[in-house]
């Protein structure tokens, strides 16, 4: 697979209708078929698409999975969530690099292989994990890495690698109405057509379904407002950019319940009058792409997509899959739409919200994968059935992605209102000390709060549930998350662009044993700026892990402080390093005396 074909740029551009709005998809195909996006390809694409080069370069340089320099025939990216680290990722990566005589972030001398880290790839239940040329390999250990190293040395094309390396079990530990009940494709659509669009919205309203992406906006309100909004066309977008570290329930929904998700999108199309829909699938889920395309093809065969769906005159709707390219921020709905339009994923100024002005500035519903799955269930079984599950403010069930220090990591489906303690018992986390609920942007809770409940009125969550036992260092957890946010900040607004990096640098300063109480105070100050002035949710929540762990686990910080007043970040001796290299000296006199 990684043969460096001559890039068929005209062919790729034609496949995407010569439409600059499809630029991210075009670049992704160029990257995949050529292994890089070279500078002259940018010029050629500018010509073929009739847009300025600077626009192509802007997009090409924004996404982490695009690069101009060669990463060899095999690009290996280790998932770098804290859960991967807890499962031994750092040592395994080093082992792997030594086996292949490699340095991370440096192409091997024979131009064959390149190793680096990447943000969480949605396999926290099977950590540590990696991507090879975009395809996920879970549950790494030395034996599996030995095999990978051998295959690379033998220069075996990826397509010929043993399939068992790429097998990813669903790990559904506790199924409920969403994951545990059989669903006959078409059932929800038939009910919708029989009931009519108005009555379907009424059922959704009665169900009290709220968005599963974490924010909890009422779905019926969003759909109704989009339906009312005037425009040349309406669009349905499914947000499958499941990038929050520790979350993987959408991976399982898409791998094994894709019909339910696509049917929910089609029900939405009927309700709002849309003819086109998109599934925005994170690039890390590349391995699901072919399968999802075949599910879409099967649905077209069955008359569940395409023209005159289920024989209903004028009910036309189809779904395209767009893949992401390594940008967490594209999980923010307006950044996702920017990405669908071929631009860097930077959140828009809002209002207007997508329900009025979304894709191509037209009314657009953007919902999470799980929300569409729930909507299909509600269309099939009615609103009252759904509303009876969970709590009065949080109807239905919630898929929870459990990982970290527990015996049975995987997906658990609970009616809303389940306590953290219950989940910990079910997953076999006997020594739990802390849980990160809803990922780095969510809430860190300590053992004192295990009676809190998963619900919009208590612990709102997009689904991540990372468990930390007593021996884990909560400072390192927070430090890993600050690195994540600094890497994923889109760079649009001042507070987040600069603030996330300042936070990261300060946490590194503490880790290096150079921290003082002043730094703790500074981090609170930066948190305040981020919360009050950042452009979007990423910035608003980026300091949460630091501030919450500081509050709940102060020991983890205090034992790292060198002094209680102030310690400079500037390393005077380090500043002499360039001079030492130039003069070739490294004797004691070439160093400042350390205190």
């Amino acid at each position: 697979m990684p043969e460096q074909d001559v890039c068929d740029l005209p062919g790729i551009v034609a496949r995407w209708q010569h439409d600059p709005a499809n630029l991210v998809q075009i670049l992704r195909e160029v990257q995949e078929s050529c292994g890089t996006i070279p500078s002259d390809a940018l010029d050629r694409l500018a010509q073929l698409l009739g847009v300025p080069r600077v626009r192509i370069e802007s997009t090409a340089s924004f996404y982490a999975f695009f690069h101009a320099e060669s990463h060899g025939a095999y690009e290996i990216l280790f998932s770098d969530n804290i859960v991967d680290r807890m499962a031994g990722k750092e040592a395994l990566k080093q082992y792997f690099c030594e086996r292949l005589w490699l340095e991370p972030r440096k192409l091997s001398e024979d131009g064959l292989v390149y190793v680096d880290d990447t943000a969480d790839i949605g396999l926290a239940d099977q950590a540590p994990a990696l991507l090879v040329n975009g395809y996920a390999i879970p549950s790494l250990d030395k034996a599996r890495l030995d095999l990978v190293a051998e295959l690379i040395r033998a220069r075996k094309p990826l397509a010929d690698w043993p399939p068992m390396l790429f097998e990813i079990p669903d790990n559904v530990r506790k199924p409920g109405p969403l994951m545990g009940e059989a669903f006959a494709p078409g059932a929800a659509l038939k009910a919708t057509l029989a009931r009519g669009a108005d009555a379907t919205l009424a059922e959704l309203d009665a169900a009290n379904l709220r968005g599963r992406g974490g924010a909890g906006f009422k779905t019926a309100t969003k759909w109704a407002s989009c339906r009312k909004a005037e425009g040349e066309a309406h669009y349905v977008v499914c947000n499958a950019d499941e990038g929050e570290p520790g979350t993987f329930k959408d991976r399982v929904l898409l791998a094994s319940h894709a019909d339910l998700v696509f049917e929910g999108m089609t029900v939405c199309a009927r309700a709002i009058g849309a003819r086109r829909g998109f599934l925005y699938l994170r690039g890390e889920y590349r391995n699901l792409h072919e399968k999802l395309k075949s599910v879409l093809a099967a649905r077209r065969e069955q008359g569940l997509l395409g023209r005159n769906i289920l024989g209903e005159d004028g009910f036309d709707f189809d779904i395209e899959i767009h893949l992401g390219a390594g940008a967490y921020i594209c999980g923010e709905e307006s950044a996702l739409i920017e990405s669908l339009e071929g631009k860097p994923g930077k959140p828009r100024n809002r209002p207007p919200f997508p329900d009025r002005r979304g894709y191509r500035d037209q009314p657009t519903v953007v919902n999470n994968v799980e929300t569409f799955a729930c909507a299909a269930k509600i269309a099939e079984k009615g609103g009252a059935w759904f509303a009876a599950l969970g709590t009065p403010q949080s109807a239905g069930t919630k898929l929870v992605s459990v990982s970290g220090d527990c015996k049975r990591p995987g997906v658990y489906e609970y009616p809303f209102g389940a306590s953290v303690r219950q989940i910990l018992i079910d997953c076999g986390a006997e020594d739990a000390h802390a849980v990160q609920v809803s990922g780095p942007s969510g809430t860190c809770i300590s053992f004192r709060e295990f009676d809190r409940r998963i619900a919009f009125e208590d612990l709102a969550t997009a689904g991540a549930f990372m468990v930390f036992s007593r021996e884990r260092d909560m400072f390192e957890v927070a430090r890993n998350f600050t690195h994540f946010f600094a890497h994923e900040s889109c760079g649009f607004c001042t507070p987040c662009r600069v603030g996330t990096s300042l936070l990261k640098n300060t946490m590194d300063k503490l880790a290096a044993g150079k921290g003082s109480a002043y730094d703790m105070h500074e981090m609170k100050h930066i948190m305040h700026i981020l919360r009050s002035m950042a452009h979007c949710g990423l910035g608003h929540t980026a300091a949460n892990p630091v501030v919450q762990t500081m509050e709940k686990f102060p020991d983890a910080y205090e034992r790292r402080l060198k002094r209680l007043d102030f310690e400079p970040a500037f390393d005077l001796d380090g500043a002499l390093q360039t001079a030492r290299l130039i003069t070739g000296r490294d004797d004691a006199w070439a160093h400042l005396a350390n205190e």
């Binding site: 600077v54 340089s61 900040s489 889109c490 300042l502």
Partner: protein
């Protein structure tokens, strides 16, 4: 009767569709800003103009004025946060005012004066950034770029040339130009373009004009930025 809203206790008239920033400027009230320019589409990235809108914080340049809305801008807390943003911009780039030909006409420097910034406060990043002197008439000094995208907007929306863009992301975001070589000389930029003179800092400057007005006799040497928000422009008045 014109519609009005309240800004720091003062009644501000506005026309339907105007932003808080536009209405305030028309009424002669200054709200600190860097990426905003009255001639260009609002951007909302520098966040200096963050105000409290009925208790909720938002950018004055992108939020529309509404009848009866209560807006707070000149509070100690907001100005303190704005000062921190300016400090962030200073440590993010390499801003050396004493040796910069824009000194005295620079809006970043002027905003820092206005907000009472005395030190950079945060740890400097000292990034390695490219200087591009290839163009015969225009210098591109990326060390002084604050990523406000005014040149991007001016070139795209006024000059119709797309000379500038933003590449990369996060702290690595940088100003890029429309040429395979990456050199300004290989773009279609002309010194008479709007994009060549809209930069609020010294990142894009005309060559050979650096000191036609000596330091000490420049706009912000004598005026607070609140009195003269844009160099060379009269405040738009309204009767």
């Amino acid at each position: 009767m014109a519609k009005t809203f309240i800004l720091d206790g003062k009644t501000i008239p506005f026309e339907e569709g105007e932003t808080i920033m536009e209405a305030a400027a028309a009424a002669g009230v200054y709200i600190p800003h860097l990426c905003h320019h009255p001639e260009f589409k609002p951007h909302g990235s520098c966040k200096l103009c963050t105000v409290s809108i009925g208790g909720r914080l938002g950018a004055a340049c992108t939020n529309k004025a509404a009848e009866g809305m209560k807006v707070e801008s000149e509070t100690e807390a907001l100005n303190g946060d704005r000062r921190a943003l300016v400090q962030m911009l200073f440590v993010e780039g390499n801003h050396v005012c004493p040796s910069c030909e824009k000194s005295g006409n620079c809006q970043l420097q002027a905003a820092a004066y206005h907000l009472g910034m005395l030190t950079p406060h945060f740890t400097h990043f000292y990034p390695a950034r490219d200087v591009d002197a290839s163009h015969p008439d225009v210098l591109l000094e990326r060390n002084r770029c604050i990523l406000c995208e005014l040149c991007v907007r001016a070139s795209r929306d006024v000059d119709g040339k797309h000379v500038f863009g933003i590449g990369g992301r996060g702290i690595r975001a940088r100003l890029i130009v429309n040429a395979a070589s990456g050199r300004l000389a290989d773009t279609s930029l002309s010194v008479t373009d709007r994009a060549a003179e809209v930069c609020p800092t010294g990142a894009i400057v005309r060559k050979r004009h650096g000191f036609t007005i000596p330091i000490g006799k420049r706009l912000y040497d004598h005026h607070d930025i609140a009195e003269a928000p844009v160099a060379g422009m009269e405040r738009p008045g309204r009767d």
